[in-house]
Symmetry: C2
Subunit: 211 residues, 2 copies
């Protein structure tokens, strides 16, 4: 995992949430938003928002709040997502297809440029704008396509093999959706999206609140 970070991961995650909410406000034509309102929309308290935004010196305007468009630009700059990040998906089942069809992703600066699967019956099939390519060709394609992030959406028993292909291709960041841990070299960052973790959190909360 990330060792040299100074800004906590949870802060980055909250920033991503603020950004999403601000973009929704912008679409609705809102020009300004108070920290109280933004906090309410994001489900955090307003002192948290002010603290987080202070990381990049964004303090808002007294009596007005934040200018939506400016704040979006500041957060994007802070998060390094003015540029486009090319991503590859490995494992084109239902989940892989769901992500391929997730339209807002490119708006957020992430472009899926490669769809890989090792199933010979899937290779060559078109999904949206992409043609499914054999996973063995990931290494060859990664440079051409300038892939920076690998997304694993295989079944759990194939996740490590997918990770190996991604690592061999020189890709340094992985989002793993398969419900299993993967082993990668120290210089590769892995983030896990584990659906059952969220369910466990909810059921724990329900149990302990006596609902």
């Amino acid at each position: 995992m990330l060792k040299k970070e100074k800004i906590p991961k949870v802060t980055i995650q909250r920033m991503a949430v603020y950004l999403q909410m601000l973009e929704e406000l912008e679409e609705e034509g809102e020009e300004v938003v108070s920290s109280t309102r933004l906090a309410e929309l994001c489900g955090v308290n307003s002192s948290q928002i002010r603290k987080d935004l202070a990381y990049f010196g964004e303090f808002g305007v007294r009596g007005v709040g934040y200018y939506v468009r400016d704040l979006i630009a500041s957060i994007k700059h802070f998060l390094g997502i003015q540029k486009v990040w090319n991503c590859a998906i490995v494992g084109i089942g239902n989940l892989g297809r769901a992500i391929l069809r997730y339209k807002d992703l490119s708006k957020k600066g992430y472009k899926i440029v490669g769809a890989f699967d090792c199933d010979p019956f899937k290779i060559g099939e078109r999904v949206g704008d992409l043609e499914i390519i054999c996973t063995r060709r990931l290494k060859e394609k990664a440079k051409d396509l300038n892939i920076k992030i690998g997304i694993i959406t295989t079944p759990p028993n194939r996740a490590q093999r997918a990770a190996n292909h991604i690592v061999e291709a020189g890709i340094k960041a992985i989002v793993n959706f398969a419900p299993t841990r993967i082993q990668v070299p120290d210089d590769v960052i892995v983030d896990y999206v584990d659906f059952s973790t969220h369910l466990i959190y909810l059921s724990f909360s329900l149990s302990n609140l006596g609902k």
Copy 2:
């Protein structure tokens, strides 16, 4: 969100990770595991594991480590997942189908007992063991099926409507996969699974590590 919690959310999430790894070890026939080994597999440090497990007084056996089966039972007891939690999915697109076919979910104590969608062309279609039901019937079905958790996998512009149906059905916990915030009463817990947040975290890390 959850206000009365004493145990941090991140601890619960790590517990879920330990549980998953321990279950994999058990499947591989391992009977004991050291905290160092478990830490390595889970991508945390071993003092963190010992600290987390101390929440329920599980300290392991000196010179041996943890008995895998016993530790699984303790964590499950702690997390309140010896029982089965019935869930409903609202929105049967690719993502909904991926979750419906996620086989390990019932092993973990979560059973999807209802699949809902408002698309008349989908209503009545069978997905696995379930028949897709009109979302308007969620309220009527929730009691019969004893649904405790609602999972939203609709497009973003339909997420609030899905949430309203879930809330009206008296369900107090929601996992929202739609990339948008939803508004619910204070007594309903919402957890967000936002895919783009994970990408943002990774690209931020890549930018800042100069990779």
